[in-house]
Amino acid sequence: MSSLTNLFSKTGIPQVKGFIDSRVSLKILIASILGFIAVIAALVWLNIISQEDLLLQQEKAVLETQIQILKGQIKNSEKLALALATVTSSRSDVQDIFADRDREALAALTVPGFNSLLPIIGTATKSQFHIPPAKSFLRLDNLELYGDDLSGFRPAVNRVNFEKVPTSGIEIGRYSAAIRGIVPISSEDDHMGSVEFGTGLSSEFLAGISTEYHINSAIYFYTKASELNAFFQAMEKKDRIRIKKQDFMEFATSWGKGKIKTPADIYSQRVNAVKKGTKDIYYHYDNPGKQTIAITVLHDYNNSSIGTLEVHLDRTLVLAQIAQSQYIALAAGLSLALVGSLLIWFLVNKTVGKPVREITNVYHEIGMGNFAARTTTKTTDELGTMASSLNAMLDNTLVLIQSQEQRDAVQKSIMKLLDEVSALTDGDLTARAEVTEDVTGAIADSFNAMAEQLSHVVRDVKKATIKVGTTSKDISLSTEKLSNTSETQAVQITNAISTINKMSAAIKQMAEFAIKSTSISEQSMIHAKDGAQAVQDTNRAMEAIRDNVQETARTIKRLGESSQEIGNIVQLINDIADRTSILALNASIQAAMAGEAGRGFAVVAEEVQRLAERSTSSTKQIDALVKNIQGEINEAGTSMEESIQRVVQGSRLADGAHNKLQEIEKDSMDLARQIQSITHAANAQAKVSTEISHTMERVGKTTTQTASASKQTALSMKSMAETADQLRESVEVFKLGDDISDSDKNAQDRKVA
């Protein structure tokens, strides 16, 4: 610890280095400043653009106003001309004189008024009366020139005199263009002609406007417009030039010809203005010439596009203003960027640079071994968190470093402890570690506690091994005895098996005899059954005979009765024969009395007499026969009775025989059944004896196994006893505080412990 404080005091906090040392803040600074400058640049650029746009808008507004003024001037001239023409045409005195075509009177009436108006309406104003179709009648500005035909080059005059409607606007003449108002003159629907007022559209006209309004303007003719054909033909004739090479021709300028150069690329805008023919204004920025040109279409009286009306505005001032605004914006941007950068530098340095520097310095310090260095950064952002985390980490590290010193001390005390407990590893359980002030004190004592506990255990083990040795020897002896007994038993069982086998054979033989008896008894039973059946049949036959004899007896009886009846009938016949004989005697007497007549009759009577005699003798014979038959019938009846008696006796005997035979059958059946059960029993016995034989064999085997197993056990027990001896010898290695035989003291100790 003291060495550490020394280390800390050696290195102070190093000098806070330059801002550039903080790469992080430099990077943030550069990024921020670049971003800021980019924003400023964008703002400056936008400002310049909008300033320029504003100036251009202003410029456009000025140009538009100038165009409107110019157009207004032209329109005013037109309106004035139309008003003057309308006023003149509506004067009845003018109408009357013009109706009379009295030129001098008309001039006298109109010229003084016209001349007095000139100073007001401009000396360039001209006025003229025409008679249809387009003939000049009177020029108020030139009384000498009249009577010439205008129809070739004055389409507006043609139109007024043809359509009889007032017309006004720009009209291109032979050599010039003018703004005119032409009104027809009529009296009571009678068209008489027309009157016009007008002023020339020329450089002078534009110069006049320039003087009054400071508008530099110019008019260009579109050389392809058909309305200008007459003009250009006249021009070419007069100047002997070819004009149509150019599409646009400079016609009039407020500054006089050629003074201001018009840029070459204005052409397309002019074409657009003419072709579209709308009121749109086109702007042409001629920066080399330091001018802006506004271009719009120029229409004639008939609303045809005949060229362009252009206004030139000096750009010098505008360009200067634009340049100035750019300078101002740039200067403002630059100063803003500078101030902003400084501000960013200040902020980044304060919020990032300083904390980063402090944290970096602390890391430097740590690198040089100064673990007491701490940052003082107290911001609430991530850097503040980082700084406080770093401080906390350093606090922890310091604690860890301090524990390093303690670890050395611990190592030393551990080695001491190891030295003390090394006796334990040699089996000396009496060894104890010293409990010191060191950190290992508790551990040392835990070794002591363990050694104490181990002593108890080893003591118990020693006792147990002795007991095991004794016991296993006892068991070994018992097992050997058991083994011998088992062997004797095995021999006895083998003898039993052979006896059982013999018995089994005898039983089998008996079973066979029983089976044979069964078949014999079955046969005798069948014979008895057959005998009984035969006797039964005899009996049935005898019964039939008895029935027949009885029937015969009845028949003979009936025969006797019939012969009796025959006797009766013979008696009757005999009586009849007697009476017939008497009758025949009577007849022969009668016949004899009748003499001859009765001779034949006497023969018949004689015949009848003979018949009667024969009948009598026959009946006597029959009677004798019948008496004979009756005697025989009686004899037959008697013998019949005897026969019946014998039959009855016979059947009674047969019944007896049948019963006897049935008894024999029943008995033989019983016999058969008994023999059958004897067979079953014998079979079962045979099976059982076989099973017994098997069982006995198994018992024999088991006994043999038991014998060998107990032999094995005896051997194992012997080896266990040996093992127990070995174990005891091994445990002997452990040295205990008191001898094992001194058990009283031991027990005492344990009670206290």
Partner: protein, 121 residues
């Protein structure tokens, strides 16, 4: 209330005297021992109510003494306050593990010791 017996086991005579006087002033009867074996025999013979036990002791250390007393049925009801210069957490752990009822470290205040003794008796 009968006077309570307290056995103070301490090998440093100065400390022994300080503790003895402090406890006697507060009405306890004090026995003393200056090594582990004496402490054991006195604890068995006298059966004090409480033992103020140092750890670093000759013959048998305080842990051993505490362990033997607390595992023997006849002495395990004796309250033990370990009072030692061993300040490690492991020492406190081991001391309490051996059955000490309170583990105090030196230097100590009188109040501390008295509070613990009163609490246990």
């Amino acid at each position: 209330m009968a006077e309570k017996n307290i056995l103070v086991v301490e090998d440093s005579p100065t400390n022994l005297r300080l503790i003895k006087e402090l406890l006697e002033d507060n009405g306890y009867h004090i026995l003393t021992a200056i090594d582990g074996e004496e402490a054991l025999s006195k604890a068995v013979d006298e059966h004090p109510h409480l033992i103020v036990l140092d750890v670093i002791l000759p013959k048998k250390n305080g842990f051993q003494v505490c362990r033997q007393l607390k595992t023997s049925p006849s002495t395990q009801d004796i309250k033990i306050v370990m009072l030692t210069s061993k300040t490690q957490d492991s020492d406190r752990f081991w001391g309490l593990k051996q059955g000490a009822d309170e583990y105090m470290t030196k230097p100590f205040t009188d109040d501390e010791l008295l509070t613990n003794v009163k609490k246990l008796l």
